[in-house]
């Protein structure tokens, strides 16, 4: 199966390991992620301000690219939670608000008219609904029996309601995936609490406090590794552990990885595609069984 794939900026840089591990794992599942040609910035959170149509141009232009390249299969898969949320919300907005739709279409007079009919999917939804967690379980080569994974959702997979891939208050899609891979999961209350997001730029201490709370909570509920699907969450929870350690001398570090890295490891894909060198806290010791 081939499916169009929108990477976004981070997946080409600091989250290259997310992209590589996803592409390699999906190959195992018989899915070819075909990168969208001529993609541009998703618009990030700026486009979510509802009163500013100008910022919707970026996500919509990407969806137009999908229409151009899709050959009838109008679906696009995203990995980064923020790209997912931005494209999805822009698309939902486009479906509902006819007046703004016309305005944007008129503004982009060199593009084809777009009416909101592309389906924006997060990879997790594709795994669950197209491939099926049962089928994923059949491809497992490595039993990662020493892992106790805490799934961290953050906000962008769950809110607002029209873009949620799961129940916002008690999501389980990541846990369900890991269970199908034969990996132990732990449920922890901070799995959908805020990571501090962009405050990591100008209010580092706020993010340090969040990271300290989230990781300690995961640990107290028995986890030894955290899995996420958002590069910003990953950065805040992983890289900021250095600052946490500076502030709290007794803090115990914990690796924070993309869920695709664990999935790839379970499928025994090449170590090179998992890109563990980009993770700040080294997850390799935990994942080294049969490596």
């Amino acid at each position: 199966m081939k499916v169009l794939y929108y990477p976004g900026c981070t997946l080409k840089t600091s989250a290259k390991n997310f992209e590589d591990s996803a592409v390699a794992s999906l190959k195992v599942l018989g899915v070819d992620l075909v990168e969208l040609e001529r993609w541009n910035c998703c618009g990030t959170v700026y486009s979510l301000a509802s009163d500013d149509l100008m910022h919707k141009v970026a996500p919509i232009r990407n969806l137009i690219r999908v229409k151009e390249q899709s050959n009838g299969d109008d679906r696009v898969v995203t990995l980064c939670s923020m790209c997912y949320n931005t494209l999805k919300q822009a698309n939902e907005f486009f479906k509902e608000d006819e007046e703004s739709r016309d305005k944007i279409n008129n503004f982009m007079d060199r593009e084809i008219d777009y009416n909101g009919d592309v389906e924006v999917l997060h990879l997790l939804t594709l795994l669950k609904e197209e491939i099926g967690f049962d089928n994923i379980g059949k491809k497992v080569k490595n039993k990662l029996s020493n892992l106790k994974v805490a799934s961290y959702y953050g906000c962008l997979l769950l809110r607002p309601q029209n873009s949620a891939i799961d129940n916002a208050e008690n999501p389980t899609i990541l846990e369900d995936l890991f269970t199908s891979l034969g990996i132990d999961t732990v449920d922890f209350p901070y799995k959908n609490e805020c990571c501090g997001s962009y405050n990591t730029v100008n209010a580092v201490d706020l993010v340090v406090e969040r990271t300290y709370k989230i990781i300690n909570s995961a640990r107290s509920f028995g986890a030894n590794i955290i899995a996420t699907s958002c590069p910003l969450c990953q950065f805040n929870l992983d890289r900021r552990q250095k600052d946490v350690k500076d502030k709290y001398y007794d803090f115990e570090e914990m690796p924070v990885v993309y869920f695709t890295q664990i999935m790839g490891r379970a499928f025994n894909v090449k170590r090179k595609s998992l890109g563990f060198d980009l993770n700040y806290i080294d997850p390799v010791p935990l994942l080294q069984e049969n490596f």
Partner: protein
């Protein structure tokens, strides 16, 4: 006869006058053929307004009256009474609705004025052809049915019974008392719920005018105001109550334990049970779903120990029919389920309880004998958080409305907790404190000042369990600080919802519910205890969330409406019903299938099939008239001639 019609235009304060130019309307309508008088006044429904109409009818010798004002549902009766007082047949008076149909929905003054003139002319044309009618009279069965045996139903039944009329009280569980029987003490006076309720329960049971059907449900309702026929299902209790003396031995020996509904799951009951010791009547029933004999075919212990042979495993549901003239619906409420609130654990945490569960923990007859102990480990909680507006005031995810009683009962809970655990720390999370009853604000102040209850303004975003404690994440929105609070017990002020099964009941009764499932009143201000179906009244939380004082007041109001009806010799029925031109009727029977009120039937008259009208059942909906292929059905004062004249007038120029 030459028509002499008077038109009275109401300003309705500024409701009409701000959009419709009244002077222009009066000038235009004065000139209209058939109109001999036109006049305006600020409030036509007031005494001077009514007096004006009365005087003009006499002075100008009017033959018809048009009041251009609000909707006929509001004041048609008012103005028809005015007309009748002046000696003119009340059915020669009509309302022209220039408020709901015109001024309220338009902004353009010129267009609205023109439309108002059109509406009035149309009604003038109708009045010209109105017949003089006399209301039909209907006999009344002077017995009432009260559905629901909570405090609303009890109060309503007692009021009607004490006035000397018979009451049938139907309660679906085996005892009356409702949720009020579960409460410990009641705000704002802290008198014990049992002490004020149980004597009333006994009074119901002993009252010579009240026939109580407990463990029973309404199966079917037919008939109409003054003459309802009600079929009641008496659910099989598997106990012969005429033999049972309530000794309780069967309950003691029953081997099956089930979570008690009365104790909100905090204590067990047996499969044969009386819901609580003060139950009225105090007779057991067997819970067929859990009874070991019904599940496995073996046991029958209760039967063996009963010396009086009162256990009857072969009993089946029974039915009785009752005839009543009025019905009071008092089906009460249930609490919105904690399982709907994912962020508070969706029912996973034993020490997160709802308000009714905490009432049971406070109650002297509850599972802990009134000592406050955590459900999980029986420890006395040192810090208790109370969360208000759980599921209420949340239009996006849960219920949009305010549940009204939570602010007050949480204040009461915190206060009573502090009385039982003096070194305990009660903390209430609130959005707004709504304490709008008599003595309520003082009660909340007392909780804060005398009992040192801490109030924090903020919604709780999450509750989770950690090391045997509960952690609440919230914010103090007055201080602008996030809060993380560890406590031992959390009490949720859950939203109040209509009882399950009300939906089905309302279909049987043909009464309406609102978007949230609560019963709809005929008018939110002026007819708050009547349903839109004549003869059916509503009381208590079935109508909207309310506290005990409001419930009792509304129950008494509903009874007084019933008594108002019973005080009359007979009821009058609107005469604007369907009638049949027997020369045109072919007896095809289309009208019979269309009539929602069973008012049409076929008769053989002089060898010819004729579809006749049972006038008392006809509500004048017009379905049969629209459906009649021969044009044989007509409606009094709304016949084809009138309708065509009205349409012509609407479509005419000018």
């Amino acid at each position: 006869m030459k028509q002499r019609i008077g038109v009275f235009v109401c300003h309705c304060g500024i409701n009409i006058a701000s959009t419709v130019q009244i002077e222009r309307v009066v000038e235009a309508i004065k000139e209209y053929p058939g109109v001999v008088h036109a006049e305006d006044y600020e409030y036509m429904c007031s005494d001077p307004g009514q007096g004006m109409i009365r005087a003009r009818i006499k002075e100008k010798n009017l033959t018809g009256v048009v009041v251009a004002a609000c909707s006929p549902t509001l004041h048609e009766l008012t103005f028809r009474n005015v007309t009748a007082l002046s000696g003119l047949n009340p059915y020669r008076c009509e309302m022209a609705n220039i408020r709901e149909h015109c001024s309220w929905i338009h902004k353009d003054v010129d267009k609205a004025t023109k439309k108002a003139i059109k509406i009035i002319k149309t009604i003038v044309e109708k009045v010209k052809l109105n017949e003089e009618l006399t209301p039909l009279s209907v006999p009344i069965t002077k017995r009432a049915l009260v559905i629901g045996g909570g405090i609303a139903g009890i109060q309503s039944a007692l009021d009607i019974a004490n006035a000397g009329y018979q009451v049938i009280l139907v309660e679906k569980s085996s005892s009356i008392g409702g949720h009020m029987a579960q409460l410990s003490e009641t705000f704002p006076t802290l008198d014990c719920s049992q002490c004020i309720l149980t004597p009333k329960m006994v009074e119901v049971a002993q009252h010579k005018n009240i026939k109580l059907y407990n463990y029973a449900e309404i199966d079917d309702v037919s008939g109409y105001v003054g003459n309802f026929k009600v079929k009641i299902r008496l659910k099989a209790s598997y106990v012969d109550w005429s033999k049972c003396v309530g000794c309780g031995l069967c309950i003691e020996k029953c081997p099956t334990k089930v979570a008690s509904e009365f104790e909100q799951g905090l204590a067990p009951r047996k499969a044969i049970y009386v819901p609580f010791p003060q139950a009225v009547p105090n007779k057991p029933v067997i819970d067929r779903e859990h009874c070991r004999y019904f599940k496995t075919g073996k046991c029958r212990v209760c039967e063996k120990v009963c010396d009086l042979d009162a256990i009857k495993f072969d009993e089946e549901d029974d039915f009785v029919e009752e005839e009543v003239g009025a019905i009071v619906v008092a089906t009460g409420y249930e609490v919105y389920g904690v399982q709907n609130i994912g962020e508070y654990g969706a029912g996973r945490y034993k020490d997160v309880v709802d308000g009714l569960q905490f009432e049971r923990l406070l109650s002297a007859s509850g599972p802990t004998n009134g000592e406050i102990r955590r459900p999980s480990d029986g420890q006395i909680p040192r810090r208790v958080a109370f969360v208000s507006c759980v599921g209420s005031r949340d239009p996006e995810l849960h219920k949009p409305y305010c549940s009204k009683v939570c602010c007050m009962y949480l204040a009461k809970h915190a206060m009573l907790y502090k009385h039982r655990v003096p070194d305990g720390q009660p903390i209430i999370f609130y959005i707004d404190i709504r304490s709008d009853g008599k003595g309520y604000e003082e009660f909340v102040q007392r909780a804060q000042e005398e009992d040192h209850v801490t109030y924090i303004r903020g919604k709780v975003s999450k509750i989770y369990e950690d090391n045997g404690e509960l952690v609440l994440l919230s914010a103090d929105t007055l201080a602008g600080m996030p809060i993380e609070l560890r406590c031992d017990l959390v009490v949720l002020g859950m939203a109040i919802c209509p009882s399950s099964g009300v939906d089905e009941l309302t279909k049987k009764l043909k009464i309406q519910t609102d978007a949230n499932g609560f019963l709809t009143e005929a008018h939110p201000k002026l007819r708050p205890v009547e349903s839109l179906t004549p003869g059916i009244f509503i009381a208590g939380c079935a109508h909207a969330p309310k506290d005990i004082p409001d419930t009792v007041a509304q129950a008494s109001a509903a009874s007084s409406k019933v008594l108002e009806m019973f005080g009359q010799k007979e009821l009058s029925h609107d005469p604007m019903v369907a009638w049949v031109d027997e020369d045109l009727c072919s007896g095809c029977g289309v009208c019979i299938s269309l009539c929602p009120y069973d008012a049409r039937e076929l008769e053989i008259k002089e060898g010819k099939r004729i579809a006749t009208v049972k006038e008392i059942l006809c509500e004048g909906c017009g379905s049969c008239i629209a459906g009649c292929p021969a044009g044989a059905c007509q409606q009094r004062n709304l016949d084809d001639k009138q309708v065509i004249r009205m349409v012509e007038t609407v479509l005419s120029r000018g």
